[in-house]
Amino acid sequence: MLWQLIVSSLTVGSIYALTALGFSVVFAATRIMNIAHGQFVMLGAMFGVSYFVSMRVPYWATIVLVFLTVGVIGVAMERLTIRPIQKGGASLLALIIATVAVGEMFANGAPLAWGVTDLYSPPPLGTQPLVLVGAATHTQSLVILALTAVSFGSLWVFFERTVLGKSVRAVAIDPFAARVVGINVELVSLLVFGLAAALGGVAGLAISPITNASPHMGLGLTIKGVTAAIIGGFGSLGGALLGGMALGFLEMFVAGFITPAFRDAIVFGILLAVLFLRPSGILSRT
């Protein structure tokens, strides 16, 4: 029972960490809380089913296609909503409202394209559960864990080892100073929106065999993802990973030992407690 709980907590924690990642990257570079982000995860799941099941594209190509499709949607969102509103001199508040509206457009548009019912997404490694040290595990859990490792690892390399990644970090620290040294701030904003959306989309593809591909899954993931990012410390990679895992474990253990009914309400309580006691997240040094 305990081992089983740990395995499912790791899976759920990875899902939250992958979602939190996109928030953190966008927030760090632009200070925008992108409420639409959970919908990118949803779109990734939906497009994944379309490519893999309906069009019979091989799985590796599905991953690439989902990455590109949802990435382009993220870029389009930045170009069509965020940029024009910023140019109009509107406040950060207006930008956050715009992300809410974009998210609702995706959430209410998706049923028109894919129908209102959940779609089954076949796991690429088969449906036979794996038995690891007495705990039955969905094969997809392995895919999710691997994706988490790859996403965080490659983003770490990107931010620490490449010039482009370092310019994103420079913009995060001070957009004006970054502009002074010749960094194209607009391009960085476009890049983080596209990258976050693309990674979110692939995360959606990875989790869909467990959760099903549902047009209604976006908002819940937004809440869990932002909460995870805040718990760990908004805007840092380590924070997103740690926050996601912490939230996954807390949620699964509360559901397993106390009650599964009020899972979402408990998450909210945790969020308030963190904001009250340690608003900059557990990883902060202050």
């Binding site: 509107a90 508040l93 207006a94 809440i223 909460t227 998450v267």
Partner: protein
């Protein structure tokens, strides 16, 4: 000054007389409009004045609705005390949520309220012993006020109108007084406002609590009007609807909320073909207005009115100058002789 009082006066008069002339269907819509406008006024105080966004106002609306309904139905209270208790409870909850979130910079309130709204919905759905769960809760009768029973929709409309006028009066006065100016200052620049001695966290909290109280008031009215509530009425969709009211009407303008609420209530009725897609359309409208007309329909009207006023004003001055030489601009020689 005279024209300033004339227009609202005519509007109130129309609101008093108009409902006598319309059928039940329109009365129904007018009541929905009034309730939405009350909630939107509070929402605008928070968002348009104090510059904070709540994505969980559906939660406060639900607390008003369930609070009033449960106290009336299960505890046998009368309408007034249950309304007051529900509103106070909602305000207290807002205070507690605002305590950690509103002293922080950035928009943590948006996230916290998003979580709050979903939590309230989860509780309303799961705690079926209290709330009736997904099946919902039916109320037996419309409220009676000081022994006078509100029997039909017309009477309920006047009750709603009274609350709307009272809310409007209070919010308008607040925004024109010291707290309102404080809120506007902190919205523009929190640090500058703080350095001028404005209690930033205090004013943000005040706006949030008042908006939660108004949302609960709207919720209580909604419950006693529709006589049936279930958790589906309080999803995040309602919060998005409020965003649409604010964006379409004009952020930071109290009259704009009336226009926005009217738009959101009446326009879908005229275009029934779009009823199934209304959230899609509203979210599209929010973006459209934010990008192209950030000051909303009210800003549009205001600008048009200003143009007419300017035009007629310059015309009047020109006429006056032509007729009265004393008003004409003095020539340089005349100016010298005047000293």
């Amino acid at each position: 000054m005279k024209t300033n009082a004339l227009f609202p006066g005519a509007l109130v008069l129309a609101a008093l007389v108009g409902p006598l002339l319309v059928n039940n269907y329109w009365l129904h819509l007018l009541i929905s409009f009034g309730i939405l406008a009350i909630v939107a006024l509070g929402f605008n105080l928070l968002m348009g004045y104090a510059g904070q966004v709540s994505l969980g106002h559906a939660g406060f609306y639900a607390i008003g609705a369930y609070g009033a309904a449960l106290l009336v139905e299960k505890s046998g209270w009368s309408f007034w005390p249950s309304l007051v208790v529900a509103a106070v409870l909602s305000g207290l909850l807002a205070y507690v949520i605002g305590l950690p979130t509103l002293r922080l910079k950035d928009y943590y309130l948006a996230i916290a309220t998003l979580g709050f709204g979903v939590s309230i919905q989860v509780i309303a759905t799961q705690w079926s012993g209290l709330t009736g769960g997904p099946v919902g809760l039916a109320l037996k009768s419309r409220p009676s006020i000081f022994g006078f029973e509100i029997a039909n929709n017309l009477q309920f409309f006047y009750l709603t109108l009274a609350f709307l006028l009272l809310s409007y009066f209070c919010v308008e006065n607040l925004t024109r007084s010291r707290p309102g100016r404080g809120m506007q200052a902190l919205k523009d620049d929190e640090e500058a406002a703080a350095s001028l001695g404005i209690a930033v966290a205090h004013y943000k909290r005040q706006a949030f609590v008042i908006s939660a109280v108004l949302a609960a008031l709207g919720g209580a009215l909604y419950a006693s009007f529709s006589l049936y509530i279930n958790p589906l009425a309080f999803t995040v969709k309602y919060s998005v609807l409020l965003l649409a009211v604010a964006a379409v009407g004009g952020l930071g303008k109290n009259p704009g909320m009336l226009i926005g609420a009217a738009f959101v209530t009446f326009v879908p009725e005229m275009a029934t073909a779009f009823k199934n897609y209304y959230l899609l359309i509203y979210s599209f409208l929010i973006i459209l207005f934010l990008v192209f007309w950030p000051s909303g329909l009210y800003g549009f009207l205001e600008e048009g009115w200003q143009r007419i006023a300017d035009w007629s004003g310059t015309r009047r001055e020109a006429f006056a100058q032509a007729r009265d030489p004393a008003l004409a601009v003095p020539s340089p020689e005349e100016r010298e002789s005047l000293g």
